[in-house]
């Protein structure tokens, strides 16, 4: 449990600095520091277990079906990294408190920093590969926020974007790799993956998985050729650089390689790719570090170089090399964090980081100079500093490998060259800044920083010396379990300063002497380097991004033209294309079912429907005509239902037809009365062709269906309708009983649609012509007397009919839907005949409430059966003897039907009455054509 808290605490803690950003800065700092300290304390409380060889873990299922679990482990490797993340994180928090200027939002800074810290902790302690990946992506996002912290600077934004693009893309590759690995291993849990290591290495997909995972690691750790984002990330505030590029972000890639070494490592492929990449990166970074004029740029390239060194060690893969890699991770984190902080101090106190301007600062900043000398010496690998130890181990390993056959000697030679360059740029860092004549024209007069700003550096520098002098005392305990977690072969750790005279010592001496030589002749090297035309990676990246964006834009412009017609046409064409092969596969169109004979009435009906449909389409410019034709089609459809034994459908269709035609006539009032342009001939032809195709396919399908024997589940409904549902009208029993849940959902949708329409009509200012298109005014008699009289007489009759239809619905055609629609249309008739005011005066009822009550009644009828120990919507019925009327049946289904009835009335009137009001509420105005 504690383990999960260690990881989650920074995420929770990230909330607080943001909330107190209006308070004095120290509040934010204190909260961030407290969060980090608690996490660190918890980590230390668990550390003894790990150091004793146990692996504390914590696991909760998250999405077991995807193989994702919320599980953490704290093995030696995790402990090493988690300690670095939290330890250096704490120092960074203190340092940043002094570094940030008063104009900077410290709350936001610390929140992002904690977010990042939590993500890093998640990566290093995750026990599940997908969880690891999740945190991996979180570091990409949070580092984006950190690098772009000064978002008013365009280079910060660009640097952040570049880092996100590169590491994010790498993250996707990593995900693919992880999925491959998990697929081979059958689980994403680390233990299972470790256990399946041999299977994975022997699998045919091993190489793709390896390359994908390494893509993720190389992009994150800025390995060649993905190194270019890291120098641009230097636009971040220096505490961020110190944190991200010493101990955390870039080490995530290294961590990943170390974590998966037991699974993926040890093969020739691993060795070749990782070693060569590491070697290339080390030389590349070291060479360019020499020429950087920006202090942070120099450190950035030296970071790339050291990351290459560690990568190369991981590639070599012998236990000693792995140990050297882990040791160097620790050492690099300490001295590089210190160096970044020193760069920040110099920048902070002089106003410049430009090596061409800075010089001779030793008079002004003697303490800082001492710290810089210590950390640089460690970076250069001078004896008695920690960098020396790991670098010597590295040189030794590069000498002892024989993996490139006859060319193996190249590796130690190149490694020595790298070490020389490293010495040279370390000297440059110290000599260039602190020695020579005192600088002039600096933006600020240099002076020592506040003590507390120096304290983190002092601690780090102290560690450099302490580890450098007594490595076994300080780091053996932590490296032992870490090595056990990475290396397949156990090894006794023995790090000592003096190994006697051997190759590594010779190479070290060569490196130091050579480094001094290179630095002394730097002017020549500089002019040599000037001959080359250096492409700035930023421009290449920008060009690639631009071309990708342009391509996407062009593609989108082709696809997304803003033309609805084109979208619909594309969808329809696609449908046709997919259906045609299936139709082709039907061997015989006509099935074996006996067909009905055609009679004159049906033929006439069909001809009318077809003619009316064609008319609707052909006259669509004359909208009223088109609408009338449509209503003919609707009525004919209703007759079709009557003809084929569906009285309920016929009734419903009839009433819905009335209501929707009224609605559309109303809408016509608000629509333009003349259509200025007609479609071009080509378009019409295309549309007719397409419509014909789709219609033909639908007709064919329908014919094929109709002529084949039916195989229905309806026998159950027919058999149980009376005994189970208490009604003889099976359609209605299905609606209110068997499939009552569907109906409940349906009336809810109806109510929601009505509510949506209600909102759409809010604040609507429609076009309202005061005359028709030819300038003739509307008729002055709004409500003709004849219609008024008849409609008022019809209302009670209609209500009576609707109650009758409602009551008989369970046994004969009818029911809530139809009755509700009848009531609603009778009401609509009143609105039309007498006007809104007239109806409001007499029937001032809120239709929204009516619809809501209807849904509620239906819902509670369903819930009611729970009280009797039945399932939702189980109906109950009995027969009672009613004097005079005779035996009468009562079913709870009728209550449900009442809900349906009310909802239908409420929703229909909500739509029509509200819409009808539009014509009266506002003053009509002249339509502009």
């Amino acid at each position: 449990m504690n383990l999960a808290i260690i990881v989650m605490l920074p995420f929770v803690g990230a909330l607080f600095p943001m909330l107190v950003s209006h308070k004095p800065r120290w509040v934010s700092t204190a909260l961030a520091a407290a969060t980090t300290t608690i996490s660190l304390a918890l980590l230390l409380s668990l550390a003894p277990q790990t150091l004793n060889g146990l692996i504390p873990s914590y696991a909760v299922d998250w999405l077991p079906s995807l193989g994702l679990s919320f599980s953490f482990r704290l093995d030696g490797l995790s402990l090493l990294f988690a300690g670095l993340i939290l330890g250096i994180g704490l120092l960074i928090v203190i340092y940043a408190h002094y570094y940030l200027s008063t104009k900077d939002d410290a709350g936001r800074f610390f929140s992002c920093l904690l977010l990042f810290m939590g993500s890093m902790l998640g990566i290093v302690t995750a026990d599940n590969l997908i969880l690891l990946w999740l945190f991996w992506e979180l570091t990409s996002v949070s580092s984006f926020l950190l690098i772009g912290y000064w978002f008013h600077q365009s280079n910060a934004r660009r640097g952040a974007r570049m880092a996100l693009a590169i590491t994010g893309a790498g993250g996707l590759a990593l995900l693919a790799g992880i999925l491959l690995i998990g697929n081979i291993a059958g689980s994403y849990q680390l233990d299972a993956v470790f256990a399946a290591a041999d299977t994975i290495r022997a699998h045919s997909l091993y190489l793709p998985a390896l390359i994908l995972v390494l893509l993720g690691a190389f992009t994150k750790s800025a390995q060649f050729p993905f190194q270019f984002w890291l120098p641009h990330a230097m636009a971040a505030p220096t505490p961020v650089s110190a944190y991200l590029h010493s101990a955390t972000m870039v080490k995530a890639g290294i961590f990943l390689m170390a974590r998966l070494y037991p699974v993926l490592g040890g093969t020739p492929e691993w060795f070749t790719i990782v070693t060569l990449t590491g070697l290339a990166t080390m030389l590349f970074g070291a060479y360019f570090a020499l020429f950087k004029t920006d202090l942070k740029g120099l450190l950035a390239f030296s970071t790339i170089s050291h990351l290459g060194l560690i990568t190369m060690l991981l590639g070599l893969g012998s236990p000693a090399a792995l140990l050297a890699a882990l040791f160097h991770i620790l050492n690099h984190a300490t001295f590089k964090a210190g160096l970044f902080m020193i760069a920040g101090i110099i920048d902070h106190e002089t106003g410049s980081r430009d090596l061409r301007k800075l010089s001779g600062l030793r008079k002004f900043m003697p303490y800082t100079m001492v710290l810089a000398v210590i950390t640089s010496a460690s970076m250069a690998g001078i004896p008695l500093f920690n960098g020396f130890l790991s670098k010597e181990m590295f040189l030794m390993e590069s000498y002892q490998q024989h993996l490139f056959g006859g060319l193996s000697w190249l590796v130690p030679v190149l490694a020595t060259v790298g070490a020389m360059l490293s010495v040279a740029y370390s000297i440059r860092f110290v000599h260039g800044v602190f020695f020579d004549k005192a600088a002039e024209n600096l933006p600020k007069t240099p002076h020592e920083p506040p003590l507390m700003m120096r304290v983190p550096v002092i601690i780090l520098a102290g560690l450099c010396i302490a580890v450098g002098i007594a490595p076994m005392l300080f780091v053996a305990d932590i490296l032992t379990p870490a090595l056990a977690a990475v290396s397949p072969a156990p090894m006794e750790i023995n790090i000592s300063i003096w190994h006697g005279f051997n190759m590594a010592l010779l190479m070290s001496v060569l490196a130091i002497v050579g480094g001094i030589g290179i630095y002394a002749n730097r002017a020549d090297l500089l002019s040599f380097n000037r001959q080359f035309d250096h492409h700035d990676a930023k421009e290449v990246f920008a060009r690639i991004v631009k071309s990708v964006t342009n391509f996407s834009d062009a593609l989108m412009n082709r696809i997304e033209t803003g033309s609805l017609q084109r979208y619909i046409a594309a969808l329809l064409i696609l449908t046709v294309v997919f259906v045609i092969p299936e139709l082709y596969n039907i061997e015989q169109l006509t099935g074996g079912r006996e067909q009905l004979p055609i009679n004159v009435v049906s033929l006439t009906g069909a001809v009318i429907v077809i003619l009316a449909a064609i008319g609707t389409a052909a006259f669509h410019h004359q909208r009223l005509t088109s609408l009338m034709m449509l209503s003919v089609v609707g009525l004919m459809v209703s007759l079709t239902f009557v003809h084929f034994s569906a009285p309920d459908l016929a009734l419903t269709q009839l009433v819905v037809e009335v209501v929707s035609i009224i609605l559309m006539i109303l809408a016509l009032f608000f629509m333009p009365q003349r259509i200025p342009r007609a479609s071009s001939g080509g378009r019409v032809a295309r549309d007719i062709l397409l419509a014909g195709f789709v219609g033909g396919i639908v007709g064919t399908l329908n014919y094929a269906l109709l002529t084949r024997p039916a195989n229905s589940i309806s026998d159950f409904f027919l058999e149980n309708s009376v005994s189970g549902g208490g009604g003889t009208n099976v359609v209605n029993v299905i609606l209110v009983d068997f499939r009552g849940f569907d109906t409940l959902g349906e009336i809810t949708v109806l109510a929601i649609a009505a509510a949506g329409i209600h909102k759409l009509l809010n604040n609507l200012r429609p076009f309202m012509p005061s005359s028709d298109v030819d300038g003739r005014p509307w008729h002055r008699v709004k409500h003709p007397l004849l219609v008024q009289t008849v409609s008022q007489a019809i209302l009670p009759l209609a209500l009576m009919v609707s109650v009758y239809i409602f009551l008989r619905g369970h046994n004969l055609p009818g029911g809530g839907f139809i009755a509700g629609l009848i009531t609603a249309s009778a009401m609509i008739l009143q609105y039309m005949a007498n006007g809104v005011d007239w109806v409001k005066h007499r029937f001032n009822y809120n239709y929204q409430t009516l619809a809501a009550v209807g849904v509620m009644i239906a819902l509670f009828t369903g819930v009611g059966s729970w009280f009797f120990g039945h399932n939702f919507l189980t109906s109950w019925f009995t027969h009672v003897d009613w004097p005079i009327v005779g035996e009468f049946e009562i079913a709870t289904a009728i209550l449900f039907d009442l809900g349906v009835y009310l909802t239908v009335i409420g929703a229909t009137l909500m739509i029509l009455a509200n819409f009808g009001q539009m014509t009266t509420r506002h003053r009509p105005r002249q339509e502009k054509h």
């Binding site: 084109r566 079912r593 669509h620 459809v637 034994s645 349906e746 949708v749 239908v904």
Partner: protein
């Protein structure tokens, strides 16, 4: 009879598709309404065409399939809700934009115009 029914459904579909492919909102709404007729007829016909066998338990020997009818009944009502929603949306768009054209006002090419 079956062929006649299928031809009718096909014709309704074709006409409604043609209307839906127009560039103005009102014909599209009409097209959608007509398409819902066609779809309802199609769904209804999955119970096959049966004469004089009402799905009402009584003195008949056999009954037509009641299930498609129940489905279509709800489909008619939902279809009404959708028609209503789309027509009101069309009116709202006409009120807000002053036009009833459904295409982007600044299309890339001429084809999107109507």
């Amino acid at each position: 009879m079956e062929a006649l029914y299928a031809i009718t459904v096909g014709m309704l579909t074709a006409c409604s598709i043609y209307l839906i492919l127009r560039g103005r909102s009102f014909p599209i709404v009409i097209g959608i309404t007509m398409l819902s007729y066609a779809v309802n007829l199609f769904l209804f016909s999955t119970g096959r065409l049966v004469l004089n066998q009402l799905p009402i338990i009584g003195n008949q020997e056999s009954y037509t399939d009641p299930l498609p009818q129940a489905l279509v009944l709800t489909a008619i009502v939902i279809g009404f809700a959708m028609t209503a929603y789309s027509i009101i949306l069309a009116v709202r768009v006409r009120g807000e934009l002053g036009t009833d054209e459904v295409n982007d006002p600044s299309p890339v090419d001429d084809e999107g115009q109507r």
